[in-house]
């Protein structure tokens, strides 16, 4: 069984044993493999990078190569217990669209992302006047895949606008849990969400 980063452990801890999962942007399938082996989870994944997909499939995982913005459309409504978007939200072309797809496909959604409101990020901009490079965000601005950063408060606002209920939330500063002032003190956030508007699920699907 592979060892997970503390962040993926946090995501994995939200998943009930035996549940079904769709991991969007699943990379080489490390979370799916862990959930399969440790929690007997019925997992599927989607990943854009061919080599990562090949690595995941070689581990026996059901992973399809595809683009979350376009290719989630084929997944049926409410077809898995959890739709997971881990460390991927900020790399999406249309994050709000992907978020709406997550709560359409999953009965619950788990979203985990780096917090751009973290004090080191703020300090880097304030004091150095440069785009931040931290342990969480180690790539320079022109090379990063991350095109849609947000803060924890930004995300909460988007979730509220979309009518999503935050069932659970957890924050990290590197390895440590953060409970007070997460938007300033946490470099990483995780939300468990559900859609409060089941009557709108069908309508949203048709909008695409």
């Amino acid at each position: 069984m592979n060892r997970l980063s503390i962040r993926l452990q946090q995501v994995a801890s939200q998943v009930e044993p035996g549940a079904s999962v769709l991991d969007v942007g699943c990379s080489d399938g490390r979370l799916l493999a862990y959930l399969r082996d440790a929690k007997q989870v019925d997992g599927r994944g989607i990943e854009i990078d061919s080599r990562r997909v090949a690595a995941a499939v070689a581990q026996g995982l059901s992973v399809v190569q595809g683009d979350a913005t376009r290719d989630l459309a084929a997944f049926p409504d409410q077809s898995v217990d959890y739709a997971i978007l881990s460390e991927t939200l900020q790399a999406m072309d249309r994050p709000a669209h992907v978020l709406s797809e997550l709560v359409r496909i999953g009965r619950q959604a788990i979203v985990a992302f780096p917090n751009f409101g973290y004090w080191r990020v703020r300090a880097s901009l304030l004091l150095k006047g440069r785009m931040p490079m931290t342990r969480t965000l180690p790539v320079s601005w022109h090379e990063t895949e991350n095109i849609h950063f947000c803060t924890i408060d930004d995300f909460r606002m988007l979730a509220a606008q979309m009518g999503l209920r935050i069932e659970r939330e957890a924050y990290l500063d590197e390895e440590r849990r953060v409970r007070v002032w997460p938007n300033l003190r946490a470099d990483h956030a995780m939300f468990l969400l559900s859609d409060q508007r089941p009557d709108l699920i069908g309508a949203k699907h048709h909008e695409q």
Partner: protein, 362 residues
Amino acid sequence: MHLHQDVPLDSGLKLPAPAIAFEAIGELNADRSNAILICHALTGDQYVATEHPQTGKPGWWNRMVGPGKPIDPERHFIICTNVIGGCMGSEGPASPHPGDGEPWGLRFPVITIADMVRAQAALLDRLGISKLRAAVGGSMGGMQVLQWAASFPGRVESVVAIATAARHSAQNIAFHEVGRQAIMADPKWKGGAYEAGAGPAKGLAVARMAAHITYLSEAGLTEKFGRRLQRKDAKSFGFDADFQIESYLRHQGMSFVDRFDANSYLYITRALDYFDLAESHGGQLAAAFAETRARFCVISFDSDWLYPTSESKRIVQALVAAGRHVSFVELKSPFGHDAFLLDTPGLNTVVDGFLRAGEAGR
């Protein structure tokens, strides 16, 4: 082996107790659960991992099938049948007609991919194999394995469909029509009633040459041949094979006619052109996969323009919509459609991981 029963065909006709030629490698285990069916492509045959008796060449898929390979006779009972309509021992237009003993010729009924699969299932009945651990195929073989999941949803646990499509496109049909017309334009074709060994070799060779181009990629052709001349001194200012690519294609055409029957080529290309898995399921491809509980592995190659990645994605979207477990990857290869037969990095590890996961989950 001759089947004891007739095989009903999509056309409404029946193929009376047809011969089915097959090769089997490995041992069937005690509970008869380790059988893997490999389905061959248009001009393939049952010699998937054993020496071809006519050409003396090694099996056509040694890279995938053999000791230590993803499909392994140490673990699997491996069956590969020559499709009906073929010319390597299964009932086809060159076989003797049961009535008069003369070759069927064009009296042979037009067959479909579903008919090929029906005949394979009848053979498995005779072998006492009720369920396949996996059905694996590339190109036309990929179409057969998809058809397997649709026609016999309870009889296959895992499906590996490589470099394939769920329907033939207008472009696919167009290339086949060029090949068929080349055969039928050869005076030696004689309306399909040629004698063995005196068939339309030139027409069949041209058909093969045209088709062979579709199996390669432009980048692959450029790398392998470019504009290089066959004799490096000068052009002939005539119509000999000046360019290496011409010489190569002529060789491909000429060597093909030694091992393939022209009428078989007509029938099998027809079966491919008729293939549209959605058509027989109300136009909904996902409906073809509604009943099966098989796991699927779909693989395409980025330089394959015969059955491009977009066709594989169409299959994958249907499988996803049907709620099936599916893996899909587009592998990088310069070799075009032929990549599934060649040494393509990643292909074996993907297939191996997929098959082993199915075996672990049993």
